[in-house]
């Protein structure tokens, strides 16, 4: 492997591991806020106990997110110095804004939220939960702004020596790419949190312990899960797809494995792209579907990879194709699973339908896979560019950092993160095993809401 591949792998590995944690905390911040709101409205301590349990899970994940997040901000400089030198004046703005506007807010109020329930009072504690939610969702916004600019640069001009100069702050911050990408990403985080919550709820019911809480977790998890899973497909996924079709058409062709320009283009549900022979092996097609999804006309022409110069094709077409298909496929399954669960919840049968509880319990890892695959689609789809149309990834790496040094730190991160992952699973397992504190008096919560 040459230095460039190692720099790419370095960033890919550390960001993929990092994003396992914020996707839960951003979604969970919203669900905890809902639990705190229910506690405030019903004056039922049950919801405060539930919120406290999730705050413990949140805290472990937050700590993991913080410690694995710091390397991300540094790696722009350490491993991608050419990119940083060129783009720092633009994307440094949003990265600094993340520190100034969200990290201070989050870190200040998380301490209060975790340690200050007694001193803050009911309303104060709700406000602390709200501040943590706001901080984490703002953080997501600034990161999406940064990434959206790399996907679709706006608000800049080129200087005499080709340098990139920020010229319109609002065009940069309100990049049209940001809107759908932000919603799609944040709702993806809610999907993860909702699946994890219903998974633990189902686990408690199936083991016949903490059942009061299990039911609450299932009610909230399944309701939020269905809403979020539907919103992932429409309108946010569709909106994001439209952006790609308009601004990165070659990426769309690669995602779909469409090698030749086609009218009434079919969508491939499954199949293996062969880039050498420029065809999709063993495809199962839905005729006309790709034209319809992209242009809302069954007969529309969709440009294939053959319409674009070879050196503008994404560099990892099969991986991009699979990432996209895994994301969409899992997203579809999520809607079905949560739809069925919500139906049974409404019919008051969910808590006794054991096969579905089993499915919900085992479903927790899959939103993580779907969110990771979604980010891989975005990042592999942007290739061969680091800033779309302006700077190639190969021009962005640090020329002064050798392959040997990069491999050294990559291996270091792999080892360290393996240890962190083991510790993390161990501690979360303990918290789940221990469960929420039982209510002091007989539960006053009805079995069905």
């Amino acid at each position: 492997m040459d230095a460039l591949d190692l720099h790419r792998l370095h960033f890919a590995f550390t960001i993929t591991f990092h994003y396992l944690f914020p996707q839960l905390t951003m979604g969970l911040a919203l669900l905890i806020l809902i639990l705190k709101t229910m506690a405030l409205r019903t004056a039922n301590e049950h919801y405060n106990h539930a919120a406290r349990f999730w705050a413990k899970i949140f805290a472990i994940n937050f700590a993991m997110g913080v410690v694995t997040g710091i390397p991300m901000e540094f790696q722009f400089g350490t491993n991608w110095s050419r990119f940083s030198k060129a783009a720092g004046g633009v994307i440094g703005q949003t990265l600094a804004m993340e520190g100034v506007y969200s990290f201070f807010l989050e870190s200040s109020f998380l301490g209060l939220f975790l340690f200050g329930e007694k001193m803050l009072g009911r309303i104060g504690h709700w406000l602390a939960a709200f501040a943590v939610f706001l901080g984490s969702w703002l953080s997501g916004f600034f990161i999406i702004c940064t990434n959206a600019w790399m996907q679709h640069p706006t608000g800049y001009v080129r200087g005499s020596a080709g340098e990139i100069i920020l010229s319109d702050f609002w065009a940069f911050l309100l990049n049209p790419w940001v809107f759908w990408m932000y919603l799609h990403n944040m709702i993806g985080a809610v999907v993860t949190a909702a699946f994890v919550m219903s998974s633990i709820g189902a686990f408690y019911l199936l083991n016949n312990k903490h059942t009061e809480y299990g039911r609450t977790f299932l009610r909230l998890g399944v309701t939020a899960g269905l809403i979020a899973a539907v919103l992932m497909a429409f309108p946010t996924g569709d909106g994001q797809g439209q952006m790609v079709a308009r601004h990165q058409p070659v990426t769309l062709a690669a995602m779909e494995g469409l090698f030749e320009t086609t009218t009434a283009a079919p969508i491939a549900l499954i199949g293996q792209p062969d880039v050498e022979k420029r065809r999709l092996d063993n495809p199962i097609h839905v005729p006309g579907m790709l034209s319809f999804i992209t242009y809302k006309r069954w007969n529309a022409e969709v440009k294939g990879l053959d319409s674009y110069p070879r050196d503008t094709w994404p560099t990892q077409i099969p991986l991009l194709y699979y990432s996209f298909h895994i994301m969409v496929g899992l997203g579809t399954i999520f809607i079905a699973l949560m739809g069925l669960s919500a139906l049974l919840l409404w019919r008051r049968k969910l808590f006794t339908t054991r096969p579905l509880l089993w499915a919900l319990m085992l479903a927790a890892p899959f939103p993580y896979i779907a969110n990771t695959a979604g980010w891989m689609t975005a990042e592999l789809g942007r290739q061969p560019w680091v800033i779309y149309g302006i700077m190639r990834t190969s021009e962005g790496a640090s020329p002064n950092v050798s392959a040997g040094n990069t491999l050294f730190t990559l291996l270091g991160f792999m080892g360290l993160y393996a240890v962190l992952a083991i510790l993390f699973l161990f501690l979360v397992q303990r918290e789940v095993e221990h469960g929420p504190e039982p209510l002091p008096q007989p539960a006053s919560i009805p079995a069905h809401a």
Binding site: T68, I70, K85, Y101, S107
Partner: protein
């Protein structure tokens, strides 16, 4: 405009060293004077609600440096590749140690994380000091503004220096003494009884070491980087900064004798502020001097981002930092007072 941003970045870094400095120093104190698991738990508890917010100053400084001086950010971060990665690993281990230590009470779990917390804090402080030493000494920048330093070569300040040479190690030790004092004064402020007395003695010893090392480091620095003396000669008003540092150190000494806990901690903060301001003033307008050819040095003028971005940055940066300060004040007030073990979470 670029000078203003230079001052703002310097202020963020100073804020980081003063704030995260005391919780890093508390880590060193935990290693040196924490005799029982209860002592260590108390020390951890004193920084528990605030250490994470303190560390955000580092991220805010990094982010601000990134957009205001992108050429400096990219050159220094890639050139100091290995030590930065080691700093990241230490920050990860330290954060995990603080957050995970109290999850399980066992004779194997707690001491392990106490040790990781203390050792990572100590090593971080030495590395941060050495990093400052590198910036003062200068690095072999090439015409593209790049350099790459190994961790060490022959420990001499020659044509091919390493990150660690005798000078930067000296600065690292100075930083170690300073933040040991600072952290011990924090523990002195936040605890009671025997632990508090031990913290006081540690602070007194560290203070003596700081005074000696400050003198030695300053004199040697004038040799290593003559530009600093030139700066003070050209703009004598800058002598106010070393004066602030001296006042801080003397104030810490006197307040410790008078057993004034808060004042001694604030005086130590003043000392750190004065020292860093002196360095920053002395190095200006360089932000990364070249050790081989002064013409290749990075300065505030050739490392800055274009003007529009710097101007627009002021509009969000100032209100944002005021807000951040307000949260910090709020949190510190909420958690003011001595820490005790009764309501262990």
């Amino acid at each position: 405009m670029e000078t203003l941003w230079f001052c703002l970045v310097a202020a963020l870094i100073t804020g980081y060293v003063v704030l995260d400095g005391f919780d890093l120093g508390a880590g060193i104190a935990s290693l040196l004077i924490g005799r029982s698991a209860a002592d260590k738990r108390l020390i951890l508890k004193s920084i528990g609600p605030v250490w994470d917010g303190n560390e955000v100053w580092l991220l805010a400084a990094g982010g601000t440096l990134y957009f205001a001086f992108p050429a400096l950010y990219s050159s220094s971060f890639s050139g100091f590749y290995l030590p930065l990665m080691i700093v990241l690993w230490l920050l990860i281990l330290r954060g995990i140690a603080i957050e995970f230590r109290n999850h399980i009470e066992s004779p194997t779990w707690t001491p392990l994380w106490d040790f990781v917390f203390g050792a990572a804090s100590a090593l971080l402080v030495v590395f941060f000091g050495a990093a400052l030493g590198n910036v003062v000494r200068g690095v072999p920048l090439d015409s593209a503004g790049d350099f790459f330093l190994p961790l060490w070569t022959d420990f001499n300040i020659g044509a091919e220096p390493g990150i660690l040479d005798w000078y930067t190690v000296l600065v690292g030790l100075f930083a170690f003494a300073t933040l040991t004092m600072h952290g011990a004064l924090w523990v002195y402020l936040k605890t009671l009884g025997d632990l508090q007395q031990r913290a006081k003695r540690l602070a007194q010893h560290a203070l003596a070491a700081v005074a000696l090392l400050a003198l030695a480091t300053t004199l040697i620095t004038f040799q290593v980087q003559p530009h600093i003396l030139e700066s003070f000669a050209a703009r004598p008003w800058g002598f106010v900064f070393p004066l602030v540092a001296l006042t801080g150190l003397a104030g810490a000494f006197l307040s410790l004798r008078n057993k004034d806990e808060l004042k001694s901690f604030l005086a130590s903060s003043l000392f750190i502020t004065g020292m860093l301001a002196s360095v920053v003033f002395g190095v200006f307008p360089y932000v990364l001097p070249s050790s081989t050819n002064p013409a290749l040095s990075l300065t505030v003028y050739n490392a800055k981002a274009p003007d529009y971005g710097l101007k627009i940055g002021l509009f969000w940066w100032i209100p944002g930092m005021l807000l951040a300060l307000a949260y910090s004040v709020f949190v510190y007030r909420k958690f003011a007072g001595k820490v005790q073990l009764d309501d262990a979470h």
